[in-house]
Symmetry: C3
Subunit: 168 residues, 3 copies
């Protein structure tokens, strides 16, 4: 017969499991977000689309994409395919991630950097404010809505970055 | 009466709790540091100031700020407000963080990227070496001193980055 | 005499230890990778070399370095020393890391950003695709091979980024 162990162990194990799960969530969300640049710059449309839920939204000032199909189509067509041919980097800053249960919000900057055709290095073409809304699904964390607006002085872009600190 | 459990469990739980706490410290410091760019680019002076301790220092080659009040004032005034209106990104590289007990040191690069007024994309205005000194407070990790020097070939900037590897 | 505790505790502890170790591996690999920029830009040849195994490879389109000696020599000589004097930032994007047991693969972008000699800010000189292969050694995680190719439209660079998603 198994002896009952110190009940304090049970609660300490539960706390450890919960704390660990939160860190695993952060790690999983980092892996998901930091897949975007490498997959979009190598043209892996299916990988890019798969970062979102089936009906996920990628809402950019240059156009709104509803659902994986439209996101994958963006990767497969112009102007994106032209950027890849020219030489491009979709570069993300390290994200500020907040997990609350089964949803999460992250904000970060992204840059679109394009090779200059005159051979004179690269040009930072766009610097963008991003808000990612994510949720836990049976297949892991996925993006439900990513909203991106160019940082050109408009209030809307600042509001995207500020939204991470609503409760601050 | 509660039975005593295997004393090995007690020590394994203690080790797990310590190892987990170190990872939580890293995660908390990442969240703190990666708040800087989004909050400074959206002009949230209080959030920016709150990353530091009340008497924290932000020592930049362009001026030294002593205490939250001076840091918040930087966010609220020129030239910073002009950068926001023009369109700017304060973009951080992922940081190399070292935690030792209740203090931590991190080094990273930051860039100030400004929208060009001629409509020709963005210009990398500054690339800077950063050393962050942090401490654990009752409210969580906070910055005690951040030292930033432009990477223009001067020895001082290289020393800032090298300082992370003093014991290497 | 020590009582046997609930055998469920033993398995829960084992699972916690394994999950924690995976997160510690991710954290250690981030610390290793995010050492590169700060150490190479401050000219710490020994620290840079020490990121690799003794016979590690750094395979760049501009030249292949075999072993720590050749990597350290790159840091100590031109053109790298010239970049440092001019003012440079080797800036990494946050990496997508995959750990499998005692090996790991990471992909990320890197930028070489150089101060312009006309005083007009900085120029993004190169944007590069990177694949890092790492292994666990008695001294911690080390790089066995890092492969870097400029993103100029060539298939090889896209393949480097795509390699992280081979099993996706």
């Amino acid at each position: 017969m198994t002896e009952m162990a110190d009940p304090g162990f049970e609660s300490r194990l539960l706390v450890l499991e919960q704390r660990l799960r939160l860190l695993e969530d952060h790690n999983a969300i980092m892996r998901l977000m930091y897949s975007y640049g490498p997959s979009v710059d190598s043209g892996l449309a299916g990988v890019v689309g798969g970062l979102w839920t089936e009906d996920g939204v990628y809402d950019v000032d240059t156009g709104r994409m509803d659902g994986r199909g439209e996101i994958e189509s963006m990767v497969r067509t112009h102007p994106h395919q032209g950027f890849i041919q020219q030489g491009c980097g979709h570069i993300m800053s390290p994200a500020h991630i907040t997990v609350e249960g089964d949803t999460a919000v992250a904000v970060c900057h992204t840059q679109l950097i394009l090779r200059q055709l005159d051979g004179n290095g690269y040009q930072v073409s766009r610097v963008t404010a991003n808000r990612w809304e994510l949720k836990r699904t049976p297949d892991g964390w996925r993006v439900t809505t990513r909203t991106s607006r160019i940082l050109d002085g408009q209030e809307e872009s600042r509001a995207i970055l500020a939204s991470a600190f609503r409760h601050a």
